[in-house]
């Protein structure tokens, strides 16, 4: 259940690509245990927001606080060590490496706690039995859905306190989308805090507690997910009915 202690506080965050402003003065707060869906059209700045949170893209102004620390200018490897891990758009698994090696890479910053890594590896294999079955196989030979499972599993091995999911349903068959969303919901039920970025707004809002709508770089609305699903303007713009 969501608690009152804010895990992530984004305040007035802006980010540019050269002179082009991709996100403008974004404010967003996530509480421990929450699942928040960030929806918006193509080019709204969803991925840029995630990259800025992960330290992959510099913030031009504003502040990001995570678990009480200002992480705005931290390099990506420190942010991951602090507990934010991003599951990239388009999976980005390491195709020439085995499934097991991909997962081991997820635990790159956890080498001092091998017992935890082994325990977590078992949890990931329990969550996605197909990964265990194919652990010696090269990641590039997996299907799209399995690669998405691998990308999520890999991120779980980084010991995340906050998981950023970028378009996990992209390019997947409807049945697999359902499966992935079921897993996301399950992770959330186990206490993982998640920020879910999706174009598939209906599916994302259906499992999220809150939703935020990003339009041309600005958050135009933040509300409980059920309210957004019922909102006429939101329905017309993002849900298509």
């Amino acid at each position: 259940m969501p608690s009152d202690e804010p895990l992530l506080e984004i305040a007035g965050l802006s980010s540019h690509y050269g002179p082009v402003c991709a996100i403008r003065a974004v404010d967003l707060t996530l509480h421990t245990g929450e699942l928040v869906a960030l929806v918006g059209g193509n080019g709204a700045g969803k991925t840029t927001l995630l990259h800025t949170l992960s330290g992959l893209h510099p913030a031009s102004s504003g502040r990001i606080r995570f678990a009480g620390q200002d992480i705005t200018r931290w390099p990506s490897h420190r942010i991951v060590a602090a507990g934010i891990c991003q599951v990239p758009e388009g999976r980005q698994v390491f195709a020439p490496l085995s499934v097991a090696d991909n997962l081991r890479l997820g635990a790159y910053r956890q080498r001092r706690d091998q017992p935890w890594v082994h325990q977590q590896l078992d949890r990931v294999y329990a969550l996605f039995p197909i990964l265990h079955e194919r652990r010696e196989q090269l990641a590039g030979t997996l299907s799209g859905g399995q690669q998405q499972m691998l990308a999520i599993g890999r991120a779980l091995l980084s010991r995340p306190r906050l998981l950023l999911l970028d378009e996990p349903s992209m390019g997947l068959a409807p049945l697999l989308v359902e499966e992935i969303f079921r897993v996301i919901q399950q992770l959330n039920a186990q206490g993982v805090t998640l920020l879910l970025v999706e174009q598939n707004a209906r599916a994302a809002l259906a499992i999220a507690q809150r939703g935020a709508i990003l339009e041309t770089g600005c958050i135009v609305k933040t509300a409980p997910a059920t309210d957004l699903l019922a909102d006429d303007a939101v329905r017309r713009a993002y849900l298509g009915y």
């Binding site: 992960s54 330290g55 992959l56 390099p75 990506s76 490897h77 942010i79 991951v80 060590a81 891990c85 991003q86 599951v87 990239p88 980005q92 698994v93 390491f94 195709a95 020439p96 490496l97 090696d101 081991r104 890479l105 997820g106 790159y108 910053r109 080498r111 890999r154 991120a155 980084s158």
Partner: protein
């Protein structure tokens, strides 16, 4: 599989002088091939695994060689100490260069490393007071292990062979380590690697330094083996040859790089009889390999062998 390959190679290395006793040609070519293997295996860590190109790798080869040459001939340092100093110098230079240079990608990285190689070569030619200029330095003493001097070709072969096996063993272990996995990840997608908390610029720096150390090690061995060094051994052509060895053998495979180094060394020796046509045949062969075995000699041929084996087994149930 990993160790089987290693032992097969070690057996071949030992068998060579036994099969061809007192054969000067075999030993000398063997030494050249061994040094090339160390260079190619080191460069492969950078190119094959981390996916970063270096067109100036001969510079590190030269730094090792000149460090050994200058320290032993001018300052009368013991050979092993000079070799160690060569490693330190090459390592420090690589470390200083790595941060600015490895920010670049693709063609820009190629240009920057090319520039570094050219600068190093110019210094070797121009800093006459230190390097002896275009004539180089002579009178470099052979390696000496606690009084055992490496003063004949068979001993030299033994030392280079041992060094080569050490280089291959090190490379296999680096690739299989946590850092090695990070490097392979980096090559796949630097972005995704960063998302998992891999400090990619640090990983690239580490592999660049490691690669430079392999080259400097080979350079020192080369200097002590030859007894003389000159800038011609470390020019742009050599850097390009090294890249060719790695690509020819098969990127991202330690044995592939070793294979490419040996193949190219033998090719040069074998084509000497064609005199004027040597370069022509050389170029044509390289093109043929790249067209028909785009994954490189080692990977391509071992896949073909596996396929042939499966087919043969399938035919005789």
């Amino acid at each position: 599989m990993r160790l089987a390959g290693f032992f097969a190679l070690a057996a071949g290395v030992i068998a060579l002088p036994v099969l061809f006793p007192n054969n000067y040609f075999v030993i000398v070519v063997g030494i050249a091939a061994g040094l090339h293997v160390i260079l190619a295996v080191g460069l492969n860590l950078l190119m094959g695994y981390a996916g970063q190109i270096s067109l100036g790798h001969a510079a590190f080869f030269g730094i090792g060689a000149y460090a050994s040459a200058i320290l032993t001939t001018r300052y009368a340092w013991p050979a092993l100490l000079a070799l160690a100093a060569g490693l330190v110098v090459a390592g420090v230079i690589a470390w200083l260069l790595a941060r600015p240079i490895l920010r670049l990608r693709g063609h820009y990285l190629a240009m920057a490393t090319l520039g570094f190689g050219v600068i190093a070569h110019v210094i070797m030619v121009q800093a006459t007071h230190w390097t002896g200029g275009p004539d180089g330095l002579t009178g470099i003493p052979p390696l000496n292990f606690l009084g055992w001097s490496v003063n004949n070709d068979l001993h030299g072969y033994g030392v280079v062979a041992a060094a080569m096996l050490l280089a291959i063993w090190l490379s296999l272990n680096i690739v299989d380590s946590r850092v090695g996995r990070a490097l392979r990840a980096l090559r796949g997608s630097e972005f995704a690697a960063q998302m998992l908390g891999i400090d990619t610029s640090r990983a690239k720096t580490q592999v660049f330094v490691a690669s430079a150390l392999f080259a400097a090690f080979a350079g020192s061995l080369f200097a002590h083996q030859q007894g003389f060094v000159s800038p011609d051994s470390f020019n742009l052509t050599v850097s390009v040859e090294l890249v060719t060895m790695v690509v020819l053998g098969g990127l991202a495979s330690t044995y592939g790089a070793a294979c490419g180094a040996i193949a190219l060394t033998l090719l040069h020796q074998g084509l000497v009889v064609f005199e004027d046509y040597e370069m022509l045949i050389h170029g044509a062969l390289l093109m043929a390999v790249m067209i028909f075995l785009p994954q490189g000699l080692f990977v391509g041929l071992s896949q073909a062998a596996r396929w042939a084996w499966r087919t043969a087994r399938g035919m005789t149930p």
